[in-house]
Amino acid sequence: MAPRRIDARELPAGSALARRLAQIEKVARAVTLEHDGTPVEARAGEPVALSLAAAGRLTLARSPKYHRPRGAACLRGDCDGCLVRAGDQPGVMACRLAADSGMKLTSQNAFPTAGFDVFAVTDWFFPKHLDHHRLMVDFGDAVNRTMQVFARRMAGSGTLPELPTGVVPHRTRDVDVLVVGAGRAGLAAVETLAREGLSALLVDEEPAPGGAQRDRVDLAPERPTVSVDAMFDATAAATYANETLVVQHGAITRVTCRARLFATGTRDVIPAFARNDLPGVVTARAFARALTWGVLLGERVVIVGPAATGARVNEVLRALGVKTVYAPDGEVVEAHGATAVRKVTVREKGATAEHRCDVLVCADEPVPAYELAGQAGAGLAWDHDRRCFAPRSDDEGATERDGVYVAGTVRRRMSDEQRSDDGVRVARRIARDLRGSR
């Protein structure tokens, strides 16, 4: 069985997800894309990765060394499993690309296509790993050079555009505070900053505010209003002491500011188990996000892990009449399948069992998205309980680098209300610090 679209009427009337889907269906506009030469029906505005998934096209690329199949695993710009060539632009994240009529998408790094790739033999030649330390040195110079040429041709990410794209001019902005992340913490922070009389610019990678809220299958759709200047669909790609580069629709804005607040939330990780990179192995938030767009990623679903999203997804699936295996305390031992997941071995409470499935949902607790704060110079510490790194900050979100602050779940686990409170608390601290430095 394959992924398919669901509509609001399949869900309990009045449920949060049914209301979301009804809203989408009201404005849905059918468009046709092309993937590797095949027409694909889509809805305008939805993530292209989901249009392709709904059409049963899960394998989008091949991995660099072994040419293993790659597919969308996170649907939020973190795993890079969804890279495609869009038009003549290589390396575009299909999960962040909004479907539009006439789009031409091609698989990358695959010969001839991602669905069937002749170089997948590399995976079998080197069943454990390809040791480039020895492979490249032990056989002498000539072999070495040939291998390099071969490796270069096989690896890489896509093909360059036919024509040079030209220089895209940048803009500049100057504000008191740059806030990255428009989830609960970031939104509460910018409101507080405005009340304190400070100018702020809010930046978020998503097309609209809401943060983690946007993927909640148990909450009715909500469009928080943003009272300050904001850039959506925009990535704070690099941050330096004197400026931060924000990239939106292929153009850079250089932002200068007196304080930077990173309310970047969390990322999902797929844990280490055999064939954890198979298409069809997805994070719980990815599965939930697909549902909010009306796409059911599989009909036989195994959910493993303790994160709340896993339980919420399980509830929706039961309501839909989809058979699930839900193992909140379990651990995946191994996933099986040739080009997509077909079976999974799960250990729970000392017992090991195999389950047939077409999607494996990894509901591990998310980890802090500390990268930008780290770039900015915030210190990091290993969190023993959650087994991940997190930025170090005091009670009010100040890091050890002057002018760099963190708020919300990038700091620690928080309830919905705590996130807003934290945004307010840290914003007040920023206001105090900035007044002091005037």
């Binding site: 293993r68 973190d78 069943p127 454990k128 220089v167 580069l245 990780v269 280490a272 770039q375 023993h384």
Partner: protein, 94 residues
Amino acid sequence: MTAKVMLCRCEDVTLDEVDEAIALGHTDIESVKRYTGFGTGWCQGKQCVTLCARVLAERTGEAPTLPFTPRPPVHPVPLGALASLGAHGGDDDA
């Protein structure tokens, strides 16, 4: 496909490879990165740093060393956009 445990998807670095690096005495994140190339791909460590740090913590029984500084860009940026940061780029340089 074979039963590899993938720790770094962007650069195809397996658990086996990281274990070999550890066996050779690379027990801090930076050295394991230099030996295996994990974290040097498209995502610049967004997925793999946590996984590799967890393996190191398990194998050594200690908290892993701090990770390498996350490098910009957080996501790849088109060269055409970066080019404007040079001498003749934006509205402030006109």
